[in-house]
Amino acid sequence: MKTFLRPNTSNNQEREPGQRGSLLLVMALYSNPKWLSTVRAAVERLTATLGFKEEHCRSVTRALDEALTNIVRHAYNNRHDQPITMYFRKVQRKQEVEVQYGIEITLCDRGPACDATKWHGRSPGEIRPGGLGLQIIHDAMDIVEFSRKGNTNRLRLVKYLGQAGLAP
C-alpha cells in the first residue's frame, strides 16, 4: 500500500521567531517526473507572492526541481509510484539588527538511508553530462541540509530574501 507522508498537523509555532517557521503549503505527490512542471509552476508563483525578485524565484524553482529529480533518480531509482512530500514554510532570521525573511522547503522521501556527505557533483566547467544538480541546488539556496529520521529522508532548503523584507 502506498502511503503519502502526512503534512504536519501542528502549526502553532507561527508566532515564535527563530522557531520552525510557519507552514504555508504542503504538496504531496508520487515520484513521476511528469509532475515536476506542476511543482515548478506552484513554487515559482509562491516565491513571487512572498516577494522574492524574479531571478530568485527562478533559482529557487530550479533548485526544487533538481532536488525532486534527484529523489526520483537516486532515492527511488526511477520508480514512479513512490511518495514525496514537500513542506513550504516562511522562516526568519536575525541579521544584526534587521529581521530577514525567507522560504524553507523540506522534501521528504521514503527511499533507503544514504550518506549525503558522499554525494558529489561535477567540478564547474567539466564537460560531462550529469553531476550538475547539486551545484544548482547549492548555488540557489542559503542552506542545504540532509537528514534522516525514522524511515524518511529530509532535504531542507532555505533561501532568505536580501535587504528588502518579505511582502507581509
Binding site: N32, P33, K34, L36, S37, R40, E55, R58, S59, R62, D65, E66, T69, V72, R73, P124, G125, I127, R128, P129, G130, L132, G133, Q135, I136, D139
Partner: protein, 110 residues
Amino acid sequence: MQISTRHQDKATIFDLSGDIDFANSPELRQSVLREIRENRPLRVVINLSSVHYIDSSGVASLVEGLKASRDLGSRFILFGLSTAAREILQLSRLIKVFEVYENEEEALAV
C-alpha cells in the same frame, strides 16, 4: 516538450517547445543522437526560442549532442535562449562550450 525537425542544406534544425526537464530530456537526447549518427548533418541547430525552462538533465542531453557532433566533425549550435536557459548554462560554465547565437539567421549564417 514538443520536438520537430527540419532539414536545410546540410543542417538539421530541432525546433523545441515547452519545458525540458527529466520527464522528457531522455527523449530529446535520443532524437538528437539518432539524427547525428544516422544523418551526419554538417551542423546541428537547436532552436530554444519556445523553451522556457531547461533542467540539468536537459543540459546533459545537449552536452551529449555536442560530444557526438564533435566526434563526427559536425557543429552543434544553440539559439533563442530564454533567461532561464541562459542562467543554467552560465552557472554550469557551459555557455562558452556551446556555440550560442541570438536567432536562426545567425545560427545558419556564421
